[in-house]
């Protein structure tokens, strides 16, 4: 199947009232390098389909840059629909611009000739950050609870340990190859059968990921949002998952 046809199929399934199809579409989108929905399908979708796609996204969000890509992909359909539906997408996009400032807001700001909707979203999100910058030096946020520093350090250690554990489990090198913990030195040389090899530097492998801000600022609110979206999807599709 040509890429275009696959894309169109995935997009149709992402807009589907059938739960299983939406699940499959989401799983594929999650594992893909990037999200690229078919505009032809988006523009032909009706209001209910668009709303379900948006609610499904809220219920089970994508991560990082895919968030911005998916919402941008949906936008033309919502702009054509107008009215309340457009406002729903605008609210969601603004929320995600605040939630993922690097993956969403910064990327959207670089788009040449943004749509009216996108311009409004960028304007609202930037106003939010501007207001926050204005209070960043306030006395009201200049203190923490006793023991906060120590707890934050502990959290950091736990998180790094978990990342390390996860990386080792997923890495073939870590699992199959011999691992030697280097104690001293900024380069390493291997002694093999009496011969010492030339020293080489270490290579760092890293991956950056933006952590969604609102999962910290309003974790409870984000859970409630997901539950409400799930319930609304059930209402619109007339059934359970």
């Amino acid at each position: 199947m040509a890429k275009k046809q696959v894309r169109e199929l995935l997009t149709r399934w992402a807009l589907s009232t059938d739960t299983n199809r939406r699940e499959i579409a989401r799983a594929v989108l999650r594992s893909a390098e990037s999200v690229n929905v078919a505009q032809s399908e988006i523009c032909e979708a009706n209001d209910a389909q668009l709303e379900i796609a948006l609610l499904e996204f809220i219920h089970k969000p994508l991560l990082g840059e895919k968030t911005g890509e998916f919402l941008l992909g949906l936008a033309p359909g919502f702009e054509n629909a107008g009215g309340e539906l457009r406002e729903k997408l605008k609210r969601e996009m603004t929320l995600q611009a605040i939630n993922h400032p690097a993956c969403c807001l910064d990327k959207w700001k670089k788009i040449a000739e943004p749509s009216v909707l996108l311009r409004e979203v960028i304007r609202d999100a930037e106003a939010y950050f501007e207001r926050l910058r204005a209070v960043a030096d306030s006395a009201a946020v200049a203190f923490s609870f006793p023991g906060f520093k120590e707890a934050a350090e502990k959290e950091r250690e736990e998180f790094l340990a978990e990342v390390d554990r996860g990386a080792r489990e997923k890495s073939i090198f870590a699992r199959l190859a011999k691992n030697v913990q280097i104690i001293y030195g900024s380069k390493w040389a291997v002694m093999m059968q009496g011969k010492l090899g030339a020293p080489t530097g270490f290579h760092e492998l890293s991956r950056e990921m933006e952590f969604p801000r609102l999962e910290v600022i309003d974790a409870e609110g984000m859970v409630i949002r997901r539950i409400e979206a799930r319930n609304r999807v059930r209402e619109l599709t007339g059934g359970g998952e």
Binding site: L132, A134, V135, S138, E155, V216, E220
Partner: protein, 617 residues
Amino acid sequence: MAASNLNQFLTEYIESLLERTTVEKGILKTGFDWVIYQLGVGKNWKPFRLPFFRQPSAGVPDTKRGEAEFGEDISFGSESGKEYWIFVLKDERLIYGNWTSHKFDSDLRRAAAPRLSQEGLEKVESVRIILAYNKDEDQGGIESYDRLIGSLPTSIGDGVKLSFERWNLTRIVEEIEAHVLTPDLLPQHLSGQFRYICSQFEDFGFGTREWENQLVPNWRDFLELALKEPVNGRKLRVIPVCLMILNHYRKDRAGSYPGWIDLIEWAMLALWSAHQRLPRAGSKNAKEIIRGVWLGLYIGELERYFVEVEGTLTTQHGFSVGRQGLGVGVDAVNHAYRAYWHLGRLGILSRAPQDFESPGNPEYEGFIEEVITRSAGWLVRCLRANPAALRPLVDLNHIELFLTWVILWQTGKQKDIYEWLCELESRLLVRRVHKELSVPFIEANSRLDLVAEYAATGDRPYDYANSSSYLLLMLLELCFSLCESERDELVERYMRRVVKAIGEDGQSLVKKEIDLQSWVPPEDWWDRILKGPVLDGIAVTTNNFDQVTEKAKPLCERIRDSVEEVREKHPWKMRGRDVPLAAYILACIKHRSPLPPEFWRGIIFGEPGERSRPDGG
């Protein structure tokens, strides 16, 4: 702190001092002379003659008695030896009637003839006689002074210049503000300890372990020493002066402002505790001093603070700005901690002026209305903008929730109360049921360290407790301030979803119910809370109002019956207003002590035995 407030408290302190430092029955009474001595040292003058012996150790300075002083109370020389200042001190008003009876005239004449042949005064070229009095004056007194000075010579002996100055209370305060706003201003037995506190205040950040474990205990010990029996006006007035000096030591660090307020609060509790110890008769002046510090310094400062931080309260996610940790669970706990710190103080700011209402005074009533309306405006915007304000962390946060409710109730914001309680219910449910959330459910023993540990590691600490709740029962009772239909709906929701964690399908979402508990404080709660936590009394377990009989009463009726039963069997009265209610509420916050349920039951359920509901306004 506004300059006018600083001036007022310092002025009152200086005015309260007697002329001489004395020791009576082993008790030190610091005098005005000590202040002038410190002023001279502050101006880099060399003390020449003092009315007391300085003690190197922090003891009581021994006073000199029976010596002929020739009008000179204290004198100083300059570094070069060419200038000589003689102070004639009076703790009397400079008025025509006192001019001779209190020896203004005779002491000035004597002082105007100093013996410059004394050792150490050989190089003097200029002598200044300063009449310093720490009271006010009238025109007759000033003219008496001017006439005398006009008649005295302008030189002594071989051309030594002689001049005169008059320092009234205002001038003395100005000089002190400019030169001696340091721990040295305090009586000698306090200044050493206070100096240490000032250096800790400079070094430690508010909210750090060092602040809590070192500075606060030292400050409280100091307050106890400063307010040792017998308490009098002078001792009481030293406290705001200490706070002003601490303010002087505040750095530009943003966190120093709430830190300073923290120290003011401990001082206020010490003052109100002293208030309780004052004898019934003859204490009117002392009580007024304490009241003046409470309103003029603490409440005034709280108001200034909230005007300054209004932006944070009302900006979306204002309390969550500035990620400090990794940015996950512990930060969320910190945001809520900050939010609840502010909710508590906003509640006190709103409550405090009402404790001194003057019935029938329309101007004051208008002022109170303005204060409450403004607080409510800030509060509503804060609740809408900051999810952290809807995240109580520990059971003791019931105090801040009560204050939130009271502000909304007093301004008739029934709709906002309903929406607030609804939102709170949803968020508490989510924390109860969704274990993956980084912020755990409310810790029953109010151990914030355990909340932080849970949030940091994701693992429930062994001694983390959340199976009982006084806070949740309070929320249920607050629902009784709503109209019947809203009350019934919310009470059912809280009970079914949060307390019992029963899902929409009737299945349990969490293994164990939360046990709702009430509390009857001991009868001497009012006498003890200002000094420390009060945790004894009677715990009342409610069995969650379950009834086994077939014809169970509606839940709301069961709750109301239980409240009445407890109030009837263990009556506990709200006290009269000698010490303001806001001070008691502050004491609960600072001492981490529960607020007695009568604080809200009295409003919602009326007097014991009444079956009334508030009209919401």
